[in-house]
């Protein structure tokens, strides 16, 4: 129901008195409304700025956060107000919606941020009022297009991350699509480009007249007829290369049907087909005319350059997207040509020896005049003809000049979009690398903590480094979580250096004699194993000796690919970039469960409910992980046996 309707309800109910005399049955009893404190003022505290409004105002829209019981989740009993940790400037618009019934879109704010606020408060974007709706939609669409471009760019430019187990087909296809990925692909790319150029130049040079052998009178012949064998060989070589390339592409294409239907493959086929047809057509007089026509199609080889040139592709794409403008241009030109040709014909009809013999003959004149070419092979001689001729040329300028700016602006837009996409792709890699660097701080924090003897018994507290003692609750609990995972799997987290050292030790051990390797393994990494998992250490030592370096490398590769899947930070998940321990606020919630992931970032310290958090670092966590811990790796949990040797 609309906003103000609720205010009129008492009036409507009072007006029901008019029905009383007419009612044939007794009317139902009135609903017992609780002592209506309708005029209660609610205080909504948004990040420190207090908004006060009637309760009724908020109740107008019961399917939103503020209008429903959902706001009770944000109620702070101590201060008696509803606290939201959101942007106060945006909240102003949300509250105005309740007051006026119209949601306005702020001009200077990012549309994405506004959308997120709407999603949080449960307001559907359709509620944006008519005055701001157009702008809201335009900005949203712009954003969506840009995001789609980014995604496409990510998927397309997914160069180096090809799964190791890809088939020859997949690798070939990737080499064809992105020539920059490997040197061989690049070489192939340039070689085909060179041969396309050679083929086109050969076609052109073929027709130049060269001076024939000394004869009286010296006859001029086109070069193609003079050196037929040379040109034939060159043509054959080019066609062979093109055929090979086409067949390779056909083999490597992930979807052959789609590839066959694509424009580039059609161009390829048209480029090489005339040659083959020419081979099979016998050289007799009847067919040679058609054969000569076929040679024209050889010029299509120049279109193969579009794989090599992005500008050409953009041009083609522009023409395709401006198809309607071009159609309009053609249609209006045709109309104008017919009109003016008819007029000119009838104007010049009377003259003797006139060129305007028929209306179709006058078409040529009209076209030449409208496009302001003016060859002068056909000119009007009567006065009427000259007048109409001048009108024709003037209107020609107009008709052609009108659609051209549209096409140009389309081209410019697409071209700039492409430039932007390329630039963004280049910057994206740098951005992601920097983000990864920042996030590695979190990864290294745990390793640092271990190095500083954090996992020692807390009884020897004095010797612990200051940094270990001064960790925030979040850090403590996160490290406890990682520590529990280590205990579950009986493996430890290390950094790359130690890992490569260990890897080197393993591979070396595999290559040297078996006996020494067993002993060295038992002493080195095995010592840890023996303390951690006594049952399995013996089995593992034997297995270590037996396993070759290749096996370990194989599993490394597997882990490599698994660990190499780095996910980019999620746009929705707010806590993604802020998961650094020192950035998070102090809290009582553990981070083991994703509970804490969710709670840890937004909740301010003042709001945490109970101070009964035990001060031990081991407090808190999801029981599920412990269960796995204990059920799967019982020996690992015994704290006394675990003495982690220094890394």
């Amino acid at each position: 129901m609309a906003a103000g309707v609720a205010t009129w309800l008492p009036f409507a109910r009072a007006a029901a008195v008019g029905w009383l005399p007419l009612a044939q049955q007794p009317l139902p009893p009135a609903p017992g409304v609780k002592a209506s404190r309708g005029d209660e003022v609610l205080v909504v505290n948004v990040s420190g700025r207090r908004f006060e409004t009637w309760k009724n105002t908020l109740d107008r829209y019961p399917d939103t956060l503020l209008g429903s019981s959902e706001k009770e989740f944000f109620y702070d009993a101590d201060s008696g107000e509803y606290f939201f940790d959101r942007d106060p400037d945006m909240f102003r618009h949300v509250l105005n919606f309740y007051r006026t019934g119209r949601l306005h879109c702020p001009r200077q704010e990012c549309i994405q941020a506004f959308d997120e606020e709407l999603a949080f408060y449960g307001l559907v974007p359709e509620l944006v009022g008519d005055c701001c709706l157009e702008e809201y939609r335009d900005r949203k669409k712009e954003n969506a297009e840009r995001l789609a471009e980014d995604e496409e760019a990510e998927q397309a430019g997914d160069g180096p991350a090809l799964p190791a187990g890809s088939s020859l087909r997949q690798r070939l296809w990737r080499a064809f699509e992105n020539p920059h990925t490997s040197t061989a692909a690049l070489v192939f790319y340039y070689v085909t480009g060179f041969f396309i150029a050679v083929s086109v130049i050969a076609n052109v040079v073929e027709t130049i007249p060269c001076r024939g052998p000394a004869r009286r009178p010296p006859r001029e012949q086109p070069c193609g007829d003079r050196f037929p064998l040379a040109f034939f060989c060159m043509d054959t070589a080019c066609v062979l290369i093109f055929t090979g390339e086409y067949l390779l592409r056909l083999f490597a294409a992930p979807s052959r049907c789609r590839f066959l239907r694509s424009v580039m493959s059609l161009i390829d086929v048209v480029a090489i087909l005339p040659y083959y047809i020419g081979l099979f057509v016998p050289k007799n007089e009847d067919v040679s005319g058609a054969f000569v026509t076929l040679r024209v199609f050889r010029v299509f080889r120049i279109f193969k350059f579009s794989r090599h040139s992005q500008g050409l592709r953009i041009l083609g794409y522009t023409l395709k997207s401006c198809a309607s403008e071009l159609g309009f241009l053609l249609f209006s030109l045709t109309m104008a040509i017919i009109i003016f040709a008819t007029v000119m014909f009838y104007a010049e009809k009377g003259t003797n020896k006139t060129n305007f013999t028929s209306i179709p003959a006058a078409f040529w004149y009209t076209i030449v005049t409208m496009t302001t070419l003016g060859y002068g092979d056909m000119v009007p001689s009567t006065i009427a003809g000259k007048i109409f001729g001048s009108i024709c040329s003037l209107s020609g300028v107009l008709v052609i000049a009108l659609p051209v700016p549209v096409i140009v602006s389309n081209f410019s837009r697409i071209y700039h979009q492409n430039q932007r996409a390329d630039k963004r792709r280049a910057q994206q890699k740098v951005r992601l690398a920097r983000i990864r660097l920042a996030k590695s701080g979190t990864t290294n924090a745990f390793l640092q903590y271990k190095q500083n003897g954090g996992l020692e018994d807390s009884s020897s507290g004095e010797e612990q480094a200051l940094c270990v003692r001064n960790r925030s609750a979040f850090e403590q609990q996160h490290h406890h979580l990682l520590h529990c995972l280590e205990k579950t799997t009986c493996h430890e987290f290390t950094d790359e250096l130690t890992f490569s050292e260990a890897l080197g030790a393993v591979s070396l051990g595999g290559r040297t004699s078996r006996s020494t390797s067993v002993s060295s393994q038992a002493v080195g990494p095995g010592s840890l194993l023996s303390s951690c998992c006594p049952r399995r250490a013996k089995r593992r030592a034997i297995r270590l000796a037996n396993s070759t370096a290749s096996v370990s490398r194989g599993s490394m590769q597997e882990l490599d690919t698994l660990a190499g899947l780095r996910r980019s930070p999620a746009p929705q998940s707010r806590s993604s970039l802020n998961a650094k321990p020192h950035d998070s606020l102090d809290l009582n919630c553990d981070s083991r469960d994703f509970v804490a992931a969710i709670i840890s970032i937004p909740t301010p310290p003042a709001n945490t409910p109970d101070e009964s958090q035990p001060s031990s670092p081991g407090g808190g966590g999801g029981a599920s992980s412990t269960l796995r811990n204990s059920s799967l790796g019982t020996p690992c949990l015994l704290p006394e046996t675990v003495k982690i040797s220094s890394l």
Partner: protein, 216 residues
Amino acid sequence: MGAVMGTFSSLQTKQRRPSKDKIEDELEMTMVCHRPEGLEQLEAQTNFTKRELQVLYRGFKNECPSGVVNEETFKQIYAQFFPHGDASMYAHYLFHAFDITQTGSVKFEDFVTALSILLRGTVHEKLRWTFNLYDINKDGYINKEEMMDIVKAIYDMMGKYTYPVLKEDTPRQHVDVFFQKMDKNKDGIVTLDEFLESCQEDDNIMRSLQLFQNVM
């Protein structure tokens, strides 16, 4: 001539509009909103106090303003705690353990119910929840393949740089040890009763179940 141009331009704009609207419709349909039950009801159904529920909800709402978590978001959130390795498979199994009704999205009520069991439930309830987690196809039995998947997912979270170097058959060995302990009648599958019995016999497990009482 002008009339022709006018009709052409209007035709063009009409052609363009339908495709634009389609994108808009898609954008708008993704706004699924879910509102949880009242605070009192949730307080009655779970073992949390009102304050705790409030804290939980605020965090939940911040991450998922629409009121439901889908699997992708869940995986991303969980992955942030294990930057070393790949937590996606384990998060997948966790998600399906949370999503009791198998709708593909976890609402706040499901979330809070599961947490209530895990943090404030009885030993029996916790163990049963864990059994449910391990039982991937929810047929009431844990077989070796399911256990292998779970254990592999856990080892994936360790990442590449571990000490000692992770071997290929480590998960399998781990599963064998587990089955040795849990499978009483050696029939290759672990039933709920076997699981409960074996866990209750193990002091370590019982002790560590109490470790995570004070999460909130």
